[in-house]
């Protein structure tokens, strides 16, 4: 832009247009930067300095941002271990050949991968390197005085002028009146939030004003807050823990490491870091949209009603609902899932109880067809494994197979396939309670055998094959119940989460948002008012200069002119000479405008 301006113009508007200490510091390839293309100086230090400048340039920041955006995309295409481990297993099953290659490229752990980390760490290094000198510079700028008034204000884009006459009777001189008008302008600008500085010279009086320091402050706040978000997320993770626990109605959980079904904890969480408390699931509520209504069968209003006993032994009631986690001693309890836990009793041939438990069955579809496993380890000639399907509202499907037609307990039915042999749990390897490993077992009842699956309604008892004994599906209904709605216990799958850093992440995120609004909406501008005394009049000039994006500058200068005239009228002394008022739009031709943005 400056190439179109002549030498003299550059010198005349130098103070106003070229950067000075009160301007924000920018990387050299910033649009307002000096554009100096730094050649690397010879020697190690020279090269290092050059490399650092490259890393902290606007271009590098921009490219890294775009690379970051692209790098984040694969994580939305491939299932990620941290969010969807089952999806990863499924993907592996479907693409056994491709999987090892993509896995080596970390495409299933994108956000923990070295390449993704490298990108954002470089970006944040660049950010810190860019921001630190700017903070130092801005601290100085905050104390700097507005720059000298340019000699020729009419060269600026937003220029206005006015002339005021001294009444013949007035005793004051034109110079005194000019000076007084600048006093008024100074006060006016100050009250508008400008920082002001008087520059008087001969018969010319002027005030130089600047505002919008918050713009750069906001920008710095925004970038620093982003660093704050990154650090609190990173450090906070080390002190956070998340555990899961399935609780059947009536069961109690103690907040100790051994009582969790699974637990993920940050590296700084000690074994004894958990606050001791106990939590019993008293009941689990759920409602279903009735038949025939829109969304029929849809479950909702889940509520796990718990009783919590703290270290002192005081018990309080609470409920865990979706969107409403329960707070206990800095832990947050979430409801992850729910289902049915049929109570099953197995007796051996002698009639002795060898198994009695409420077994959580995992829901397989929206109507709560559920799958569960019963492992009878002792008391039988051989170990026994039962694979059960539970249907809260059993109905015959199209092909004659049983299916559940509704999620609530209307016509509960349990079917069991029976296996005998070695459960494989004695060799020490951990086994999921939801999976039956049938490799060492023989199927005694169910499809592919001569014996049909055992089918039971609540309260019924069936015979195990080969005279092994009996199995009972206990009816849990309270005394006097008239329907099946309480015949089977429910379970809640709870997540216990502890992360004290989350609130700090939020604080930094909100600081970033606040900083961003300041940085983008606070206009930074300079304004000058100059008064020159002539014989019987005062010649007034006003000019505004945007420092950065400032769509409202022209309106602001107009408002300044109008306000100044009003204040001058109120003060008395001089009178406006209407027809002389001109605006920058008409005065100097466009091509001479010293536009800076």
């Amino acid at each position: 832009m400056s190439s179109s301006r002549s030498e003299t113009e550059i010198t005349t508007s130098k103070d106003a247009v070229n950067s000075d200490v009160s301007d924000p510091l920018r990387p050299s390839d910033h649009i307002d930067g000096d554009g100096s293309i730094a050649q690397p100086k010879l020697g190690l230090v020279g090269w290092l300095r050059w490399g650092w400048r490259q890393l902290t340039s606007m271009r590098t920041a921009l490219v890294l941002l775009l690379v970051l955006a692209i790098a984040a995309i694969p994580g939305s295409i491939f299932p990620q271990r941290m969010a969807d481990p089952n999806g990863v297993t499924e993907w592996e099953r479907n693409n056994p050949d491709l999987f090892p290659v993509l896995d080596a490229l970390k495409l299933f752990d994108v956000y923990l991968s070295p390449w993704f980390s490298a990108i954002y760490l470089l970006l944040f290094t660049s950010l810190v390197g860019c921001v630190i000198p700017r903070i130092r510079h801005h601290a100085k700028a905050l104390r700097a005085r507005p720059p000298r008034t340019p000699a020729r204000l009419q060269r600026l884009e937003d220029f206005r002028s006015a002339q005021r006459d001294l009444p013949a009777s007035a005793g004051s001189s034109a110079d005194a009146e000019a000076s007084a008008s600048i006093d008024i302008a100074t006060k006016q600008l100050k009250s508008l939030g400008y920082r002001v500085e008087r520059y008087d010279k001969g018969r010319t009086f002027s005030v130089s004003a600047e505002r919008g320091y918050w713009r750069e402050t906001g920008n710095l706040l925004f970038h620093i807050a982003l660093v704050g978000v990154l650090i609190t997320v990173g450090v906070g993770g080390g002190f956070a823990y998340t555990g899961q626990r399935v609780l059947v109605e009536g069961e109690t959980f103690a907040n100790t490491l051994v009582d969790y079904d699974s637990m993920n904890r940050g590296r700084f969480v000690a074994d004894d870091a958990l606050t001791p408390y106990a939590m019993r699931l008293d009941s689990f509520d759920v409602t279903y949209q009735p038949f025939g209504e829109p969304g029929s069968g849809q479950a909702g209003d889940f509520s796990a009603n718990v009783a919590v006993t703290d270290r002192e032994g005081d018990t309080s009631e609470g409920s865990v609902r979706v969107n409403h986690p329960l707070d206990i001693a800095g832990d947050k309890i979430y409801l992850l899932g729910n289902g049915y836990a049929p109570t099953i009793t197995v007796r051996n041939a002698d009639g002795d109880v060898v198994y009695h438990n409420s077994v959580p069955f995992l829901p397989q579809d929206n109507n709560m067809t559920s799958l569960g496993v019963i492992k009878v380890t002792d008391g039988m000639p051989e170990q026994l494994g039962l694979i059960g399907f539970f249907y809260p509202t059993a109905a015959s499907g199209k092909d004659g197979a049983i299916a559940s037609g509704f999620g609530d307990l209307v016509n509960p039915l349990l079917t069991l396939d029976v296996y005998a042999g070695d459960l494989g749990i004695n060799d020490g390897a951990p086994k999921s309670v939801y999976v039956l490993d049938t490799t060492g077992m023989t199927k005694l009842a169910g499809r592919t055998t001569d014996v049909e699956s055992i089918e039971l309604s609540p309260g019924e008892t069936g015979d195990l094959p080969n005279g092994l004994g009996t199995v009972t599906f206990e009816d849990e209904s309270p005394e006097g119940a008239t329907d099946a709605t309480q015949s089977v216990k429910r379970f809640a799958s709870l997540q216990i989460h502890h992360d004290a850093s989350a609130v700090w992440v939020l604080v930094f995120a909100l600081l970033a948002l606040g900083g961003l609004m300041l940085a983008l909406f606070v206009p930074r501008r300079r304004v000058w008012v100059k008064a020159t005394g002539a014989n019987d009049s005062v010649f007034l000039e006003y000019a505004g200069l945007a420092r950065g994006e400032d769509p409202t500058l022209a309106a602001a200068v107009d408002a300044l002119v109008a306000g100044h005239a009003r204040l001058m009228d109120a003060a008395g002394g001089s009178v406006a000479r209407e027809e002389q008022t001109s605006s920058g739009e008409q005065a100097p031709p466009a091509s001479e405008h010293a536009k800076v943005d």
Partner: protein, 326 residues
């Protein structure tokens, strides 16, 4: 009187029809602009050569339309705007009746997201029109809205059903609304950026004194740098709203899913979009990137928004399974 959940789609289709008519009117307006300006061509282009060859163009186009454009020339544009207002009223009524029928805010599944999103696009467009003459964006806005609404009403329509538990939250009201509002601003910025690219190509061709300089209506439009600064202003508003959306979504996720961030598919795309627009804002401040390259980034950004809204919602698997489709 028919049931509200029957009335709402009727109102919606009426709105679509009216918007389609508005689109036609706006299209005629653009065609007329090409024709009319053919006469004034030589004059204007002499002017342009000066502007492009000289220093920065003056702020001549401050009103959005060059001074040479006489008002009566834009009759079709005026009809287009009137129709858009009328369509908006039907659209608003469709949205409100849907909300009353559902007994909650009408933005809880994909069909409703589309309805509120397009409503806000039109609302922002009309609100801006009252201050800046952007009627030349009319074809784009009404065209986009007709396509999105039509596609959604045919493919995504679902009857009112009770909310799923995770959606029962104040954050549904705030988060989704603000996201839709951000989208509306990004849409305007996108349209302006496309025009900016066309205009800057034209300006280059004019300077090169080329035979053909692109679509004729461009001559009645503001200069490319003016289009760019308008696009930038809409983008920064959209960006701030999007930043808020991101934060509000994280707060909601903390309540609903027990973690504030988990790179769920939808979270990932929200983040990607945020980073692209941060890139755009940086590009505008980077030497060599202001102008066409940054305009391309605005276009990429909005494409990602639309991708997130359509493809990701319908086809990607994730926790945000609220399209209401099965």
């Amino acid at each position: 009187m028919p049931d509200l959940d029957v009335l709402s789609p009727i109102l919606l289709w009426t709105a679509i029809a009216i918007y389609a008519a508005a689109f036609v009117a706006y299209a005629f307006d653009l065609a007329r602009r090409s024709q009319v300006t053919a006469d004034a061509k030589s004059v204007r282009e002499a002017e342009l050569v000066v502007a492009a060859g000289g220093a920065t163009p003056a702020r001549r186009a401050a009103s959005g339309v060059p001074a040479s454009g006489a008002p009566q020339r834009f009759v079709m544009a005026r009809i287009g705007t009137s129709l858009t207002v009328l369509g908006f009223l039907f659209h608003l009524a469709a949205t409100v009746t849907r909300g009353i029928a559902a007994g909650r805010v009408p933005w809880a599944n994909l069909y409703e997201f589309a309805m509120i999103g397009t409503l806000l696009i039109v609302a922002v467009f009309l609100a801006v029109l009252s201050r800046i003459d952007l009627r030349f964006l009319g074809t784009f806005i009404t065209g986009l809205v007709v396509v999105l609404m039509g596609a959604s009403a045919t493919n995504f329509f679902v009857a009112v059903v009770p909310l799923m538990d995770p959606l029962k939250s104040v954050w549904l009201i705030i988060h989704v609304f603000v996201a839709s509002l951000a989208t509306a601003f990004f849409a305007l910025a996108f349209a302006l950026s496309v025009l900016q690219l066309m205009q800057s190509r034209r300006e280059r061709l004019v300077v090169e004194a080329a035979e053909r300089t692109g679509a004729g209506f461009l001559r009645t439009l503001p200069q490319s740098d003016r289009l760019e600064s308008l696009a930038y202003r809409f983008t920064i508003i959209g960006f701030i709203l999007w930043t808020f959306t991101l934060i509000a979504g994280a707060i909601w996720a903390q309540d609903a899913w027990g973690r504030y961030w988990g790179f769920d598919v939808k979270e990932t795309w929200t983040f990607v979009i945020w980073v692209i627009y941060a890139g755009y804002i940086h590009a505008r401040a980077t030497r060599g990137w202001r102008g066409n390259p940054s305009a391309w980034l605005a276009i990429v950004g909005f494409s990602a928004v639309i991708f997130n809204f359509t493809i990701v919602n319908v086809f990607f698997k994730g926790l945000h399974a609220y399209s209401g489709l099965s």
